[in-house]
């Protein structure tokens, strides 16, 4: 376990010392939100109706950049071999990195929220806490398969392309549930369905956090 926290701490420390990259990611996400509104046009009703879709599409697209970078740090400096030889147990490396990616994705989501509320003139009908919970569950849903595939494509030449191509179909359920839950939170939830969508999201997270953890060991050894 201590190895897991050490990996997490290291990742966050590197992100802090190379903050410029984090800022770039956030501005990328905000730019996407702007692009969506230009693409859709200034009609406030339409924008408000699909605000959660824009938020989550922004997050998914940003996640592929963030995840690609999460292993670049290791492969660029050959630190991966040093970690494997330390030895760091593969699950510790995976969950440490996945948690770090989750926190960073959650951070990007959190910063995008005010932009979404402002740009799309949205107000939060259900308690805001639910929104944060959805963001966390969604970030978890992106981070687990994302970290596995980042490890898988780390040494590939075409990883910038392959990571999103492999990841996006995988996160369809996570995207569906997150957008649904967020819409209900923003526009009100008369039939009280948020609970079921968040459960689906949680199940998706549980499946991938366990499956990807098991498979990651093989990916690292190869």
């Amino acid at each position: 376990m201590t190895q897991l926290w050490a990996v997490l701490r290291k990742d966050l420390l590197i992100e802090w010392r190379a903050r410029a990259h984090g800022v770039a990611l956030v501005s990328f996400a905000i730019t996407l939100l702007l692009l969506f509104s230009f693409a859709v046009g200034p009609n406030a009703n339409v924008l408000r109706a699909h605000a959660s879709a824009y938020l989550w599409m922004g997050l998914v697209l940003t996640s592929s950049l963030q995840l690609a970078r999460s292993f670049q740090v290791e492969t660029e400096s050959n630190a991966l071999d040093t970690l494997v030889l330390a030895p760091v147990s593969p699950p510790a490396l995976f969950y440490g990195k996945a948690l770090s990616n989750t926190l960073q994705l959650f951070g990007v989501g959190l910063v995008s929220l005010p932009a979404v509320i402002a740009l799309y003139d949205v107000e939060v009908k259900e308690p805001a806490g639910l929104l944060l919970l959805t963001l966390i569950l969604g970030a978890l849903g992106l981070a687990a398969p994302g970290t596995l595939y980042a490890g898988l494509t780390a040494r590939l030449a075409a990883r910038q392309l392959m990571l999103p191509l492999l990841l996006f179909p995988l996160v369809v359920p996570c995207l569906l549930a997150a957008v649904k839950a967020t819409t209900l939170i923003l526009q009100g939830d008369p039939m009280d369905q948020i609970g079921s969508w968040l459960t689906l999201l949680a199940c998706f997270d549980a499946l991938y956090w366990s499956l990807c953890g098991v498979l990651f060991g093989k990916v690292i050894d190869a």
Binding site: P145, L148, Y149, L152, T153, R155, L156, A157, A158, M162, L165, L166, F168, P169, L170, V172, P173, L176, A177, K180, Q193, S196, L200, F204, L207, L211, C212, L215, K218, V219, D221, A222
Partner: protein, 231 residues
């Protein structure tokens, strides 16, 4: 002996018989009329595509477990067959949707899952083609195959849930008896053909992997060095 040849021939025969009955003998469907006859081509493709992906999943687990290239070639062959059938399935589905629901694409849970499945397994094949080192390619293909397959039920149920909040489509769940016989014949036909193709592909892929990984003869030991006696 290449046992897949007779099997494929049998498959083709069954396919001809199944389709023949389905097209000319079986009654038209109550609602869709003759358009319903697409069933005998569409449903077998769907079943066999899923069987191919299931076989790929089993092969991927075997491949990761044993690390042997026979399994790796099996994963590649079955995924490839699955992807081809999956692509065919999508084309059939949209052609069928046109007269039935008046659109080329509907968010019917099965059709949507098929589309997501198609993109995922195409991703597996693409990933495989990008990795040069045979051992790493084995791992990468197997892991991507396992995750892709595990995602299929998840996508299906979440899309089903995502759709049923709107309205449920009439989907040919129950097939009445006079239609079952041609459907079953065609299904076995497609299955045998698919197995035959998969085995042929396996032979070609395994041969290629073997050529790539055949280990050259070990260089023989050089003559031991005799050193002048050091005083």
């Amino acid at each position: 002996m290449r046992w897949e040849l007779p099997l494929t021939a049998l498959g083709l025969l069954l396919l001809v018989v199944g389709h023949g009955i389905g097209l000319f003998v079986a009654p038209p469907e109550a609602m869709m009329g003759d358009v319903g006859r697409i069933l005998y081509a569409h449903v077998p493709t769907a079943w066999v595509a899923l069987v191919a992906y299931l076989a790929a999943f089993v092969a991927a687990v075997g491949s990761l477990w044993s690390g042997r290239f026979t399994w790796d070639a099996a994963v590649a062959a079955t995924v490839e067959v699955g992807v081809v059938l999956n692509g065919l399935l999508l084309a059939q589905g949209s052609i069928w949707a046109r007269p039935t629901w008046g659109v080329y694409w509907t968010w019917d849970p099965r059709l949507t899952t098929t589309a997501v499945m198609f993109v995922m397994f195409v991703g597996v094949l693409l990933l495989r083609s990008l990795v040069e080192v045979a051992e790493r390619r084995l791992t990468v293909t197997a892991v991507a195959g396992i995750v892709a397959f595990a995602n299929v039920p998840v996508v299906y149920f979440s899309v089903k849930w995502w759709r049923t909040l709107h309205q449920d489509f009439s989907s040919p769940e129950t097939v009445s008896s006079p239609m079952v016989t041609p459907l079953r014949i065609a299904a076995f036909g497609m299955l045998f053909v698919a197995i035959g193709i998969a085995v042929m592909r396996w032979r070609a892929i395994y041969a290629a992997v073997q050529r790539e990984t055949e280990s050259p003869a070990l260089p023989d030991m050089p003559a031991p060095l005799k050193l002048p006696e050091v005083p």
